[in-house]
C-alpha cells in the first residue's frame, strides 16, 4: 500500500490535518482518526447509507470514498452544528428507533430539505421517498422518518 500522506480537509467547519494512507476510507478517517463516531458503518459496501456524509455539499457514502479523494474538501457529518432543525424533527416525530441509521438519515433529510425548501410546491410522496431511498432503515418501516422529513421541510420554509 502506498505511503501515508498529510490529508488536509475541513470537517464541520474546522480545518483538520491527518496523516493517513491514501486509500483509507473516509469513514475510518472520520471515526478513528478524528474520533467523530457519529458516522456509522452498516455494510461497508455502499448499500445502507449509514455512513452518509456531505462532501462539498454532496451526500456520499463515506465507506466508498478514499482519503485521497477528499483532499481540500469540505466534509459535513452528523456532528455539524447546523442540523438542529432536522434533528429536532427526528426527536419529535420518533424518527429514530435503534438510531444506527439516524445519522445518515438526518443528513439525507437535510439534503432533501435543502433541495425543497426554496421550491414553490410540496414534494409528493414518491419524491420524498426517492430522496431517502439511498438510506436503509430496518426498524421504522420509514413512516416516522418520512414524517420527520415533512416536519423538517415545513419548518425550513420561510
Amino acid at each position: 500500500m502506498s505511503e501515508p500522506f498529510e490529508l488536509e480537509l475541513t470537517v464541520n467547519g474546522t480545518p483538520r490535518t491527518v496523516r493517513v494512507a491514501p486509500l483509507r476510507r473516509l469513514l475510518d478517517v472520520l471515526r478513528e482518526d478524528l474520533a467523530l463516531t457519529g458516522t456509522k458503518e452498516g455494510c461497508g459496501e455502499g448499500e445502507c447509507g449509514a455512513c452518509s456524509v456531505f462532501v462539498d455539499g454532496e451526500l456520499v457514502n463515506s465507506c466508498l470514498v478514499a482519503a485521497c479523494q477528499v483532499e481540500g474538501c469540505d466534509v459535513r457529518t452528523v456532528e455539524a452544528p447546523d442540523l438542529g432543525n432536522v434533528q429536532a424533527a427526528f426527536l419529535e416525530e420518533g424518527g429514530a428507533q435503534c438510531g444506527i441509521c439516524t445519522p445518515g438519515m438526518v443528513l439525507a433529510v437535510q439534503a432533501f430539505v435543502d433541495e425543497w425548501a426554496a421550491r414553490g410546491r410540496e414534494p409528493d410522496d414518491v419524491e420524498l421517498r426517492a430522496a431517502l431511498a439511498g438510506n436503509l432503515c430496518r426498524c421504522t418501516g420509514y413512516e416516522k422518518i418520512l414524517a420527520s422529513a415533512r416536519t423538517a421541510l415545513r419548518r425550513a420554509r420561510p
Partner: protein
C-alpha cells in the same frame, strides 16, 4: 421474593396519567439524532487490537488439521486461536449446547467459524487469516430438510450434552388437544393444504460487534451488541471457565436486533480470549457478509394444515404437520419447535387441535428467533387456509374471524390463559379504516384487500434456565438533587424500553421526565433481567419498575405526612412537586420531599421485581408459550398486482394492535409500523437461502433486497387498548405481534386481486406469474370473484 404483584391498571393516584400515554421523546432520542449515542463499534480503547474470524468454505467437513504458524509469524499479528482453545460447548438453551466458538473437529455450514486472529489492524488480521492452512475432509452436506430427515448418516451432530442425536432430528414435538379426527369428521367442510415459508433474516443495520478488555486484576469487561446481556455473561463464564464475578458485560446502544442478537456469538468468546491472551483490548466488528452467516433468522417451514369448519364458519378442529429446517445448530430450536404449534390457539377458539413439528439439522447457517419467533410461519399457513374456508362457505373473511373469536378471560385448547383480548376491536378498526365493506371484491382486477388476525406473547413464564429468582429486577436510587436513577438489566434494542422505564418512574414518583436517568444492561451495575426476547420487557420490567417505585413512594409519602402532620392519603407526588390535595398551597418540589424522606428514613433506594404466575398446560412443554398476557392484532393489506410482470406492490396496509395500554403511543406505533414493514418485506422481496453447494445466495443487503423507502407503502398503525389486568397499567407487548398477520393478509389480498391462492413464500414476480399461468385463462370476469362459487370453479381448473 416479590412474586407477581398486581398494581392495578389505572394511574397511580386514581387520577389521570401524567406521563404514561404521552407521546414523549425517547430517553436516547437526542443522542441518536446528533450522533452522540455510543454503539459497540464506537468503543475505542488505547492499544486496542482488531480481530477477524476465518470461516469454513465447506458446508460439511471434518477438520483434519490447522496450521497457523505462518499467520502467527506475520508482523503485527498478536494471537491466533482455534477450536482447541475454546473446547467447551455452549448453547443459549441449556439442554442443547451444541456450539463451539470455533469449530472443533467439524464444520457444519459455509461460514462456520474456524479460527480467529488478533492483529494491530483489520488489514493485518485479514492477511493473517489468508496465511492459516486448514485441511478439510468434506462430508455429504444436507441442504434439504427432507433429505436430512430421511437420511440418518452422516450425522450433523452425533450427540448433544452426552445424549445421542436421532439421525438429524433436532427436536420433535407432537401434541393433541381434544379429538381432532372426530372433530374433522363432524365438520361440514374440511380443507387440506400445503404451505411453505422460506428463510429470512433480521439484517439489523448495525453488524455484530464486541470489544473485550482485561484489567490488571483480571476482570474481563465485554461490550457487545447483544440483546441479552445476562445470557452472554453466563455463557462467557461457562466457556472461558472464568468465575462469573470476574466478568462484566455491557450492552452499549444497540443498532437493531429483532432476535438476531439473542444467542451468544463466536465473536464474544473470541475477543474475550484474545484479550486474555494478548493483554490488550480486542475489538471484532463483523462484516455485512458475516452477519448473514451468523443468521439465527426465520426457520424455513413446510407445513400441512387441515382445518374443519361448520357451515356457519365455526372451526371444529385444526391439524398441523410441520417440517422445520433448523440449519446447523440448535440455537433456540427447542423453543421454536414448540412455538410452531403452541402459539396458534388464538384469537380464535379451536375446539380441538393437534400439531406435529419436527426440526431437523441441515448444513446451512443456523436458524433461530426472528421477530415473531416460530409462530409467523404457521400463522401464515393457517390464516391463508382460514381465508379459503371463509370463501368456500361464502362468509366474509372478517366476519368468519369474528364468528370464531375466543373472547377474553378464557383458556385456549392447549391450556393457555387469556386475560384481556381486544381482537374484535382490532377487526373493527381495520375494516373501517381500509374501507373493507365498500371496496373488497369491488376493486378492479389486479387490486385487492386481504385480512388476517394473530396473537403473540408478552414474555413467557419459561425462563431459559429454570430457577426461582425473579425474571425482571429493578433498582432505584434517589438523589437529594431530585434525580432518580433507575438500574435495569433490560436491553433497549431500539424498541425504547429505557424510555418506558423512565416514563413509569416519572409517573410513579412524580418527578420531571428529564430527572430520571436510566442505567441499563450492564451486569456490574444492574440487577439481572432476562433480556430483550419474547416481547417481555415492557410487561415484566414495567411491572418490576412499578413495584420498586411503590416502595419508595410509600416512604416519601409517609415522611411528608409526618412532617406536615396530615393523613398520608392526602399527599400526592406529581409533575415535579409534592403537595397536599386538601391544601394545594402546601407544596414542595420533589427534591425537598426526597430530602425529608432521606432524613426520616435513610439513604433512599429500593428494589422491585417481577415473576410470572404459574401458567401453562399441565403437560410436557405446557409452559412453553404460556404468557401472562397475549397481544392481538388484525391486518388488512391492499395490493396492486401487475399481471404482466408479476410484481406485487402494497400501496397501503392497516394494522390494529391490542397492546393493552400504550405507555408511549409513538413507540407503540413505531413497533406496529416496523413489524408490518418487516413482514411485507420478507414476503415480497427478501430471501435467506443457499445454493446447491451450500453457498449463501447473496450475503449483502443489495442481494438480500432489503426494501428502501420507495419499496414500502403507507402503513397505518392503530392502537387498541384492552387494558390487561396484569400488565403494567394494563400494557402488553407491541414489538412482535404486529408482524404476523401482515404476510397472510398480503396472500389473501393477492387472492382477492387476481383470484389465485399463493401458499408458498416468497411472492416473487416469478411465483405470481407461474400461479397466474397455472390458473389458466385470466381476465376481468374470472378474477374479481366476490363469491365463493366463482372462485372455486376457477381453482378447480
Amino acid at each position: 421474593m416479590a412474586a407477581r404483584d398486581n398494581h392495578g391498571t389505572g394511574a397511580p393516584w386514581d387520577d389521570a396519567f401524567r406521563v404514561v400515554g404521552q407521546p414523549l421523546r425517547k430517553v436516547d432520542g437526542l443522542a441518536k439524532a446528533t450522533g452522540q449515542a455510543l454503539y459497540a463499534d464506537d468503543v475505542q480503547l488505547p492499544g486496542m487490537l482488531h480481530a477477524k474470524i476465518l470461516r469454513s468454505p465447506h458446508a460439511h467437513a471434518r477438520i483434519v488439521s490447522i496450521d497457523a504458524s505462518a499467520a502467527l509469524a506475520l508482523p503485527g499479528v498478536h494471537a491466533v486461536i482455534t477450536g482447541a482453545d475454546l473446547p467447551i460447548r455452549y448453547g443459549v438453551i441449556p439442554w442443547t449446547p451444541d456450539e463451539n466458538a470455533l469449530a472443533v473437529d467439524k464444520v457444519r455450514f459455509v461460514g462456520d467459524e474456524v479460527a480467529a486472529v488478533a492483529a494491530v489492524d483489520e488489514d493485518t488480521a485479514n492477511a493473517a487469516l489468508d496465511a492459516i492452512e486448514v485441511e478439510y475432509e468434506p462430508l455429504h452436506a444436507f441442504l434439504d430438510p427432507r433429505e436430512a430427515l430421511a437420511t440418518p448418516e452422516p450425522q450433523i451432530h452425533a450427540d448433544i450434552r452426552g445424549k445421542p442425536v436421532r439421525g438429524n432430528v433436532s427436536k420433535h414435538v407432537e401434541l393433541e388437544f381434544g379429538d381432532v379426527e372426530a372433530a374433522l369428521a363432524g365438520a361440514d367442510l374440511v380443507l387440506e393444504g400445503e404451505y411453505s415459508f422460506h428463510g429470512s433474516t433480521h439484517a439489523p443495520i448495525e453488524p455484530h460487534c464486541a470489544v473485550a478488555q482485561v484489567s490488571a486484576d483480571g476482570l474481563l469487561t465485554l461490550w457487545s451488541s447483544t440483546q441479552i446481556t445476562h445470557y452472554v455473561h453466563r455463557a462467557l463464564a461457562q466457556v472461558l471457565e472464568l468465575a462469573p464475578e470476574r466478568i462484566r458485560v455491557i450492552q452499549p446502544c444497540l443498532g437493531g436486533a429483532f432476535g438476531g442478537k439473542s444467542d451468544p456469538f463466536a465473536l464474544e468468546f473470541c475477543v474475550a480470549l484474545l484479550a486474555q491472551r494478548t493483554g490488550r483490548p480486542v475489538k471484532m466488528l463483523w462484516t455485512r457478509e458475516e452477519v448473514f452467516y451468523a443468521h439465527r433468522g426465520r426457520h424455513p417451514m413446510q407445513m400441512q394444515y387441515r382445518c374443519g369448519a361448520k357451515s356457519n364458519g365455526r372451526i371444529t378442529g385444526v391439524d398441523a404437520r410441520i417440517l422445520i429446517d433448523g440449519g446447523s445448530y440448535s440455537s433456540f430450536g427447542l423453543v421454536t419447535t414448540y412455538y410452531s404449534g403452541q402459539l396458534l390457539t388464538g384469537p380464535y377458539d379451536f375446539p380441538s387441535y393437534r400439531f406435529d413439528s419436527t426440526r431437523v439439522f441441515t448444513n446451512k447457517p443456523p436458524c433461530g428467533p426472528k421477530r415473531g419467533h416460530g409462530s409467523v410461519q404457521p400463522r401464515f399457513a393457517f390464516e391463508v387456509q382460514f381465508d379459503e374456508v371463509a370463501e368456500r362457505l361464502g362468509i366474509d373473511p372478517i366476519e368468519i374471524r369474528r364468528v370464531n373469536f375466543q373472547g377474553d378471560d378464557t383458556q385456549t385448547v392447549n391450556g393457555q390463559r387469556i386475560t384481556s383480548n381486544g381482537f374484535l376491536r382490532c377487526l373493527d378498526l381495520v375494516e373501517e379504516a381500509s374501507g373493507w365493506k365498500q371496496r373488497r371484491g369491488q376493486l378492479p382486477y389486479g387490486r385487492g384487500l386481504g385480512v388476517a388476525g394473530s396473537m403473540y406473547i408478552s414474555g413467557t413464564n419459561y425462563p431459559v434456565y429454570p430457577n426461582d429468582m425473579p425474571q425482571a429486577g429493578i433498582q432505584l436510587k434517589l438523589d437529594r438533587s431530585g434525580v432518580v436513577t433507575v438500574f435495569t438489566g433490560g436491553n433497549d434494542i431500539g424498541q425504547g424500553s429505557n424510555t418506558v422505564v423512565r416514563s413509569i418512574v416519572a409517573e410513579e414518583l412524580g418527578v420531571a421526565y428529564d430527572h430520571v436517568r436510566v442505567v441499563a444492561a450492564d451486569t456490574d451495575l444492574c440487577p439481572v433481567d432476562l433480556g430483550a426476547y419474547s416481547s417481555r420487557i415492557t410487561f415484566m420490567v414495567g411491572n418490576a419498575t412499578i413495584d420498586a417505585c411503590r416502595k419508595l413512594r410509600h416512604q416519601i409519602v409517609t415522611a411528608l405526612a409526618e412532617a406536615w402532620e396530615v393523613d398520608p392519603r392526602r399527599i400526592r407526588l406529581m409533575e415535579g412537586r409534592a403537595f397536599d390535595v386538601e391544601d394545594p398551597d402546601r407544596t414542595v418540589p420533589t427534591r425537598e420531599a426526597f430530602q425529608v424522606a432521606e432524613a426520616r428514613f435513610d439513604t433512599l433506594g429500593s428494589t422491585g421485581s417481577y415473576n410470572t404466575p404459574q401458567l401453562g398446560g399441565d403437560y410436557r412443554g405446557g409452559t412453553i408459550g404460556a404468557s401472562p398476557a397475549y397481544s392481538f392484532t388484525a391486518h388488512v393489506v391492499e395490493v396492486d398486482v401487475d399481471v404482466e410482470t408479476g410484481i406485487v406492490r402494497v400501496p397501503a396496509a392497516w394494522c390494529a394492535h391490542d397492546c393493552g395500554r400504550a405507555l408511549n403511543p409513538t413507540l407503540v406505533a413505531g413497533q406496529i409500523e416496523g413489524s408490518t414493514y418487516m413482514g411485507l418485506a420478507e414476503a415480497l422481496l427478501e430471501e435467506h437461502g443457499v445454493n446447491r453447494f451450500g453457498l449463501h445466495r447473496g450475503p449483502s443487503l443489495l442481494d438480500y433486497r432489503m426494501p428502501t423507502s420507495l419499496d414500502v407503502g403507507d402503513i397505518h398503525a392503530m392502537i387498541v387498548e384492552s387494558v390487561d389486568p396484569e400488565g403494567p397499567y394494563g400494557a402488553k407487548e407491541a414489538g412482535e405481534g404486529p408482524l404476523h398477520g401482515s404476510i397472510p393478509a398480503l396472500a389473501n389480498a393477492i387472492h382477492d386481486a387476481i383470484g389465485v391462492r399463493l401458499r408458498h413464500l416468497p411472492f416473487t414476480p416469478g411465483t405470481v406469474l407461474r400461479a397466474l399461468r397455472d390458473q389458466g385463462g385470466k381476465g376481468e370476469g374470472a378474477a374479481v370473484g366476490s363469491t365463493a362459487a366463482a372462485t372455486s370453479k376457477r381453482e378447480a381448473r
